[in-house]
Homo-oligomer: 388 residues x 2
């Protein structure tokens, strides 16, 4: 009864992350005794802060292991709403907060509610590749718009005007952006929202790297309009990647549909993670997060000039996240091959530009500063020696 | 800049769970001081077993909070494969195990890989409603096939022959089934697989209530063929609902696509849950689970004749899960209204048949024995008094 394999066509559009193969190869090299400097990993090297761990352990000891409501623990939805008031001075009704299994869960849920098959969603290229794949997964059409350093690698009203058509239903931006680390200010968010809303479209803003910024804190898009969909996560700033916990702030009118779909799609976000996250906004945790932010800033402040000195061009000032998107065109016209050579020949793992799109992707490498200062210095020394 | 709400058409097909409204109303009544007997809840009343809790707490103390590989912790994939060897005598390559955020995550991932837009998936009516909604979510077409007590409320080869057409790509069954508790034996699974494979289709078997059976243990569908897709979960038998952890066993040829999509769809299952689940298969945990199974059996052995005595008809012997699907046609031709009256008038919460489909749904109620014996006895007494 052996069966031939038959796979849905949408899978053709879902590219593998090249960095996963590279990471797997780097791990094998490490097992073989090679020293590897990891600058490819999109995950903070810090563990979850102690108070969150303690709250998670306490919740387990108390037997908090049953399902929560699909939209999340009421106390957590209130805590998230309060966070917007204290951090951003923005009032959010807790009823508008949807707690999700990671930001991926939030975006997938949202796209399923907003995007009919064949409808288009505008995205930046370069951009986080899962976003366009999640559009494909609901059989929408991701429209990758080439963005340049001059515009901070971000979509602006001119892009919306040029690419929006009758099939387009939404535009999505990320601030701070992965892979570029660039942010959108209040005026830029407002101009974007006007351009999208003038076309009766939805604006989705990914703020999962909020908090990890190295200058003035950017505003949340919710300070521009309550009609913007904002996605955030406990993964990056709060150091809770493996717990799989994120959230979505949506206009009130969409909450019943999001609730109904969440009940079917994932029932609820993980319960231990939700109880643990109740401790994420306390003063003790925030002090830890701020110390980590300072550490990330120190790394960025070291790595940015160091890479420039070697000969990489970093044209748009990265103000957040933990990435530098560096033009390597002085060294190669094929950054994928360069990334592989860097790993093989000097044991430095970085992510090739093609993981983030196709626009000039072969010119770029992404450096993640998710490792310690001594490791970064070692990596830079190896790069300098190899590329000189 | 206020926006009108626009929601994707697929949401029209995603019905709310009526039981959620009923549950919310029951909770409000309890807050107002009413005594409610809950026989609507599809979740074990037991907490997660101690050894699993302890392992979860230990993992947190050790800082196991980063992402795992998308397919799951290698040690957990091996433990799941070993479980098939010890419990079922079936050899499974650990490479074929995909660890997922709950069985919902497993089914959604699988349907996205198997079902192109417009393609059909055969399902039983009555059946677990999320299944048809998840088919809709990938823009497939769920074909709900009326099933009768005589066939154990299960799909058989005759249904496959009658309903399969050129657009059909898969059939899905559950054993034990929700809401009927009926199971499929080796011969039935084999006949189904032959019928589906003869049409070059996929067979998906939901085994999330495996372990919770009150007679001979049914075989896993994997003992029939390695080409069957089997979904299972730590939620029900292992008492880990809120942790959101399940798994999928797939033929080897599908693993690369499942891996690629899992990376995009949810990155990985929750890390603390995966470490905790490493303790699920130990002797100490299994002894706890078996004691709970005995408790569920005692409840079923009480409730089944008690409901029949009142006048409910339970025509197909429920041999697993924790549900009784009872025909209430002696009392009503509108079980939804009856469910609401039972809650309002005697404080007994049950799930109306319409949550599980449309076929004769108005004749049926689902009773969950996820509460204690004294509560069940109280519920039966109230039902008897009300319906006499």
């Amino acid at each position: 009864m052996s069966q031939p394999s038959r796979i849905a066509e949408r899978m053709d559009a879902i590219a593998p992350f090249h960095v996963m193969d590279l990471l797997a190869r780097a791990r094998r090299m490490e097992r073989d005794g090679r020293s590897i400097v990891h600058m490819e990993i999109g995950e903070p090297d810090f563990p979850t802060p102690g108070p969150i761990i303690a709250a998670g352990r306490q919740a387990l000891a108390e037997g908090r292991t049953h399902y929560t409501p699909a939209l999340g623990l009421p106390a957590l939805r209130e805590a998230i709403a309060s966070y917007y008031a204290t951090r951003y001075g923005v009032e959010i009704d807790p009823d508008r907060v949807v707690v999700t299994p990671g930001a991926s869960g939030a975006l997938h849920l949202l796209l399923a509610v907003l995007v009919d098959p064949g409808r288009k969603v505008l995205l930046s290229d370069p951009g986080y590749p899962c976003n366009r794949h999640l559009v494909r997964l609901v059989d929408g059409v991701p429209v990758s718009i080439p963005v340049e350093a001059e515009g901070g690698y971000q979509l602006g009203p001119a892009h919306i005007a040029a690419y929006w058509d009758a099939q387009t239903v939404a535009a999505m931006v990320a601030s701070p952006s992965n892979p570029t680390g660039t942010i959108l200010g209040q005026a830029e968010l407002s101009d974007l929202a006007k351009a999208v809303f003038a076309r009766d479209g939805h604006l989705i803003v990914d703020e999962i790297y909020h908090g990890l910024v190295y200058g003035p804190h950017p505003p949340t898009a919710l300070s521009v309009s309550d009609d913007i969909f904002v996605i955030n996560s406990f993964s990056k700033y709060f150091g809770m990647t493996g717990w799989r916990l994120g959230w979505l702030i949506a206009p009130q009118a969409y909450i019943p549909a999001l609730d109904r779909l969440a009940q079917n799609l994932f029932l609820a976000a993980p319960t231990p993670a939700q109880y643990a996250a109740l401790s994420a906004f306390g003063n003790e945790t925030m002090a830890i997060m701020e110390a980590r932010r300072a550490e990330f800033q120190q790394r960025r402040d070291y790595l940015l000039p160091a890479l420039r000195k070697i000969g990489f061009a970093i044209d748009a000032e990265p103000a957040g996240a933990f990435y530098l998107y560096a033009k390597a065109s002085r060294f190669t016209d094929d950054s994928f091959t360069l990334a592989n050579r860097l790993l093989d020949e000097v044991g430095v793992a970085v992510t090739p530009g093609i993981d983030f799109g196709t626009h000039r992707a072969h010119e770029y490498l992404r450096f993640a500063y998710t490792t310690t200062m001594p490791k970064l210095e070692e990596g830079v020394a190896r790069l300098a020696a190899f590329l000189k």
